[in-house]
Amino acid sequence: MTVSARAPLDPSAAAAVDSARRRRLRPETPLPWRRPLALAGLSVIGAWLVIAIFAPLIAPQNPLLQKFAILAAPSGAHWFGTDELGRDVFSRVLYGARITLPLAVVLVVAAMIIGAVLGGVAGYFGGWVDNVIMRLADLVFAFPGIILALAIAAALGPQLRNAVIAVVVVSWPSYARLVRSLVLSARSAQYVVASRLLGASGPRILLTDVRPNAAGPVLVLAALDIGNAILLLSGLSFLGLGAQPPTAEWGSMVAEGAQNFNDWWVGMFPGLAILTVVLAFNFIGDTLRDMLDPRTARAVRV
């Protein structure tokens, strides 16, 4: 997170002068406090990370243990009640963080790498390579995400791993589009021309000259996209195509709640968990986008 938070902040000379002038006028509020939403987002993510790491120490019960009263309402013993198999919902929600958070990162990193490589290649080489890659991206774009993901996940078989693959397949095109547009604008820049005149090869130019300049917007897109990835993945689990029982995964826990909608606590709390994580990532992503250079922000927006 620190890397992505810093990237768009690259102190240009003008900004430095400006902020120095302002500092003389009034004591400067530390940066995080001027961005309350991002601060809130960071703390929520931080809290969930702590929960994910220390779940076995924090959770009052084993999330798979089926020894309590079935469908008991929230009480002092079971803060979030128990589910249809007599498991402690609170412990299951805490353990759910251990599945969703790491997978969200894996998903976004995988989509980012695939998208960036394909987009970079398309933008740098142009011609038919560009055409093939971008038409493929358009096709995936035209599909409503969940329908394609549904078909892939169903075809590969209902498993968490396959749901992850399906989400990656659906989400790489936005990175490819962004990276391609960034590469196209960088391709004719002086420093790239200079590098080429010095005899640098295509991959070398992409990696050493273009990559640092594209990293900021791509990371912002990743921060904005991670929430969507979580929503899509938990949606697939909700439909029974992701995590399989008895795994404590938030989406499939909401699905259990849908079976017992009379007992609201079964589905309510895992859903709130998804909401808080996604909301926190969106707070961070939104703030980063506002801080980004307006010229590149336009490309990230849609």
Binding site: L139, A142, L156, G235, L279, N282
Partner: protein
């Protein structure tokens, strides 16, 4: 056209190259043990031919308007789609109109009150909208508005005792209104509200954020300052000089939002037992009903093309310069 063929190809490759076995998914337990039955099934649906041949045969029958036979319902996919599509279109249209009205309204308010408290509140609302798991919202809304309060019906398109209105478009509200069946119209509308609201939540957030951003971008222009300086009332400046140019990019996003709504229908229709394409897509996907999946993909591609066309036409309505060229 290229898109249509491309979509069929992608859907075809995705569904056929993966290791799932449609015979195993669609035949009963006993039939799977019987090699002859499996063979007959594969032959009936052409699964024993080489893949490129299968694809070309599919395209050929497509040209004759034949989408194949669903492996689950044993009816032509086209008949299935004709039955389910109107319900989904009705739901999605209701949701997009709702989210345009709310989203653009909130976006204007946020842009006008930039950085003051209404802007902050709206920002949190819109971010909340795009952060909610739609299946969970559906469940909460179902529990509160139907189960606890009983304000709205919980599922289906009409009350169980009611018959569908005289068929015209297949969209119950429109059919009932056209034929003056007002009790049916009221019932259909009430059934539409809950799934429609839930479906709209994500797109409201999306459109709010985007409306605000594009309004602010245009407010920075000199001609807006000029309009203010010559003494035009603020609401005319906002609506005529800022909103109108902003609408160009807003409807572009609304087109994208419509695609998002279609995604949402898969989850929402399942929860509210809304008999539409979303449910059909879900059932065909988990049963690996290949002709049906291909049919849904085609429908989706068609919607994408039609929506883009409408967006292009609207550009001309909003901006006369685009109309002339």
């Amino acid at each position: 056209m290229v898109l249509l063929v491309g979509i069929t190809l992608v859907a075809f490759v995705v569904t056929h190259l993966v290791p799932g076995d449609p015979a195993a998914a669609n035949l009963g337990q006993r039939a799977i043990g019987d090699p002859a039955a499996v063979q007959a099934f594969r032959h009936e649906y052409g699964l024993d031919r080489p893949l490129p041949v299968q694809y070309l045969l599919y395209l050929k029958s497509l040209l004759h308007g034949n989408l194949g036979i669903s492996e689950q319902s044993h009816r032509p996919v086209l008949t299935d789609l004709a039955q389910y599509v109107p319900a989904t279109i009705e739901l999605a249209l209701f949701a997009i109109v709702l989210s345009m009205a709310i989203g653009v309204g909130l976006g204007i308010l946020a842009a006008v009150c930039r950085d003051r408290w209404p802007d902050q509140v709206i920002r949190v609302i819109s971010l909340g909208g795009v952060s909610m798991p739609i299946f969970w919202v559906a469940l909460v809304a179902f529990y509160l508005l139907f189960f606890k309060l009983g304000w709205l019906p919980g599922g289906g398109r009409l009350d169980p005792a009611q018959n569908s209105p005289i068929h015209l478009t297949g969209m119950f509200t429109i059919d009932a209104a056209v034929h003056g069946q007002w009790t049916l119209f009221w019932s259909a509308l009430r059934h539409l509200v809950l799934p429609g609201l839930v479906l709209a939540i994500f797109t409201v957030g999306m459109l709010t954020r985007f409306t605000r951003a594009s309004m602010l971008e245009i407010m920075g222009n000199d001609y807006v300052r000029a309009a203010r300086l010559k003494g035009l009332p603020e609401h005319i400046v906002v609506l005529r000089h800022v909103l109108r140019p902003a609408l160009i990019s807003i409807i572009t996003v609304a087109g994208v939002a419509f695609g998002n709504l279609l995604s949402g229908t898969v989850l929402v229709e399942n929860i509210f037992s809304w008999p539409g394409v979303g449910q059909y897509a879900y059932h065909s996907a988990i049963n690996l009903d290949l002709p049906a999946i291909m049919g849904v993909s085609l429908f989706v591609a068609l919607v994408y093309i039609v929506v883009n066309l409408i967006v292009d036409l609207l550009y001309g309505v909003i901006d006369p310069r685009i109309r002339l060229s």
